[in-house]
Structures are given as C-alpha cells and as structure tokens.
Symmetry: C2
Subunit: 211 residues, 2 copies
DNA sequence: ATATTTACGCAACGGTAGTAGCGTAAATGG
DNA sequence: CCATTTACGCTACTACCGTTGCGTAAATAT
C-alpha cells in the first residue's frame, strides 16, 4: 500500500515520534490554550519549521494528536438495548469529563484551562479541513452504537419508524449540550433518565427480548 | 439601584458605545478569529488600554457583545405542543445558522472563518467567568420554551413522569450536536422528525388538547 | 561522481493578545 | 484651592503563532 519511493530526503520518523510525544505531554500538562508550539519544538529537540512542515497550524497538530490517542469506547450488545445504551453513554460521559479536565490537574493556578472538547469544536469551525478530520473521528466513534440501535430495531425492540440517527442525536446531543453549553452535571442518574425518556417513545421493551 | 457615586474620573459612556459599535462591525465583517483588538481600538478612536480596562480579554469583550445583541426567540403557546416546538426550534436553527456564517459573507477569501457559537463555547471553557455569562445567557434564552413544556405537562399533554429539562436537552442538544460536532444539516424536515420522535414517548397527543 | 529534490536547523520577521509605566484629564472630598 | 482618586492616551514591552530566507544534510536519478 505504501512504497511511494519519494525523491528527496525522507521525513524523519524519529522526529514524528518525538514531536507527538512532546505534544502529548504538553497537552496533558497545560491544556489546549496554554499549549505552545515553541515549547513542543524545544522538547522534541526540533526546529519549529519542522513542526509547520507537518501540520500547518497548532489546531491541526492537536486534532491529529487527539485523533491518534482517542480511546475507543466499546459497545456491548446484550440484547437489552436500554442497559447497553446506559453503559455506553456512561462510558462516553466519563471520557468526556476526563477530556474536559485535561490540563487542570497539575496546576494549582487560576483555572484558565482548556476544555479540549470545546477547543476541538472551535478548531473544526475555524478550518474546514480540521472539520473534516473531526467529523470523520466522530463518524468512526459513533459507528458501533449506531449499529447497536439498528440491530435493536431489526429485532423489533424499537418501533420500525424510528430513525437511529435521530435517536443517537438525542442521546449524544444531550450529553454534549450539557458538557459544552449549560455545564450541567452528567451523572449516572442523568444518563439513566435520559435513556429511559428517549426509549420511551420507541416501543423499547422494558425487559430484553431475544432474537 | 445605581447611583454609586464613585470617586475618581468616571468611565466615558461615549467610549463604551463607540467600542461596542466598532466591535459589532468588526465581528460581522471578519468573524471571531480574525477579530483584532488593535483594530477595535483604532476604529473606536480609543487606546487599547481602555479596552482592557473594561474587558480583561478578547473573549470577555465578544461574549459581552453577543450577550447584548442576541435576539430573543419568541415562543408561541397555541396548545399544540408539537407544532409550537417545531416552530420554536426552527427559529433557533435559523438563528444558529446565521451565527455560524458570521464573518463569511463579505470575504471571498479562503474560508477560515469563525463559527461564533463554537468560539463562544470554547471561550466559556477557557475562562470560568465567561462560562458563567454564557450559561446565564442560555438559561434566560431557554426559560420560555421550558415553561412551555411545563405547561404542556400540567395540562396533561405530556406524561407526568417526563422531565422538561431532559426533554429540552434532547431537543436543543440534537441541534447543537449537529451544528458543532457532526456538521449535519438542520432542515425543517429534520426538526419535524426530531420533535416527533422526542414527543413520541411522552404521550403527547397528535392533535392539540384544550385546557 | 554530479545534479536534483526534499528535509532540516537557524535566525529573523510581522501580526496579535495582553501588560507595564507614565504623564495628563476629570471627577470627588476637604 | 488643593489633594486624592480613577480614567485616559501613549509608548514600549513580552509571549506566542505562523512565515521567510538561507545554508546544509540526506535521499534519488543519470
């Protein structure tokens, strides 16, 4: 798949590794907004121009980094759609909260920290190509839970007319809305109530059905 | 309520007006990220220090500006909760889309523009006090539709157990999720489907009831 | 071997956010 | 009238993002 045999001096893979490691450290230490390209270059022992040869802006670098390190959220399919969704969304909420706190932990200073998710959203809005990466990221991330909903409908656990996509928007949207906009807490009880209320209209059985 | 009779030279109200006007113009022309404080100062014929005496950062200024100019979205209560919600959410979606395009219109250049909403969300995550302003903004903005849902439940058009707040999260959340994260389009048809699916579980009558 | 191509490091630069120091202007309090 | 207090304008400064120019290093092509 990849033996392009390019002409000039090849990119230093070593530099790639060192840059991404330094960036990872720095993101965790400082958060998105206090993250400085100059310091990445210094820590990776690389000229700043080498950074910009690979990623045109700080946003591009950080989105690429997050895309690389984002942990997959596993999806269980026990046949009990209500339970499976609760478990999945709770895991997502935990992950989001951890992302939100990145850069806040080691500094006892004034809380000017990032909110990585919010910054990624802004970066996606600033640069169309970053937006593509972010949307792709979420598309891959959401594929499994969407498939879960589709299977549930096929087995008759959801009303046939309901759209999996809209259903997922209701669930994930509520979480992100609270995280990014209202700042309201997202506890296990909230997730439970949300899933219950979303599934109430779908004819989901309160107890699991087997295929 | 306010005659504090302060000691020294008073703030120039004239400067306040000129600054906010200049900022408004500049935000519309350039969008959030290309908005430059230096240029605001120049256009308002004011020293840059005068800006920073009033708002500690660019984010603070722009959030204050948006809070000031945001247009109220009116809420009709015809007794048909399904219809009222559709109308309301469509108005919100239109407003959001207009906000998203701010700064893109007059430049034929490369599309690096802002997405005011995304930047506000990021600003709220960066500065706790800006977060307070933003949350307050949304709380006021959402008061009327929430009251609409409460009245609907009281008159029996919604199942008694359903939470207005969670219900609203499903609706607004789906919109903002599409706007900020997935970038999926938000048409009138989508709003219709969303409202239908959200209300399906609430026992909302398909035709209005009168009290 | 030599030419070509691409990457690297280095240094300097322009643009923007935000800060600091200082002299001056406009208000209040005695 | 005069001291005090706060606002204003001006200049200069630091920090960071992103760019440019140039000399050098490492690969391929002939």
């Amino acid at each position: 798949m990849t033996a392009p045999v390019r002409r000039g001096r090849p990119r230093s893979e070593n530099a790639d590794v060192r840059i991404l490691e330094a960036a990872h450290e720095l993101l965790v230490e400082r958060g998105y907004d206090r993250f400085a390209m100059d310091e990445v270059a210094a820590r990776a022992a690389v000229a700043k121009t080498t950074l910009y040869r690979r990623w045109p802006t700080k946003d591009h670098l950080l989105v690429a980094l997050v895309a690389k390190i984002q942990d997959e959220v596993s999806v269980a399919d026990t046949g009990d759609i209500r339970r499976d969704l609760s478990v999945y969304l709770t895991a997502v909420a935990t992950g989001l909260d951890r992302m939100r706190r990145v850069g806040r932990d080691l500094t006892g200073e004034e809380d000017r920290s990032a909110g990585v998710v919010a910054e990624l959203v802004a970066a996606a809005a600033r640069h169309p190509d970053v937006g593509d990466v972010v949307r792709n990221l979420f598309a891959r991330r959401n594929a499994l839970p969407l498939a879960l909903l589709d299977r549930a409908r096929e087995r008759g656990a959801l009303a046939p007319g309901t759209s999996s996509e809209v259903l997922f928007d209701q669930l994930a949207g509520a979480l992100y809305y609270r995280l990014l906009v209202t700042g309201a807490p997202i506890g296990a009880d909230y997730v439970e109530e949300l899933v219950g209320q979303v599934l109430a209209g779908t004819g989901a059985t309160r107890h699991p059905e087997r295929t």
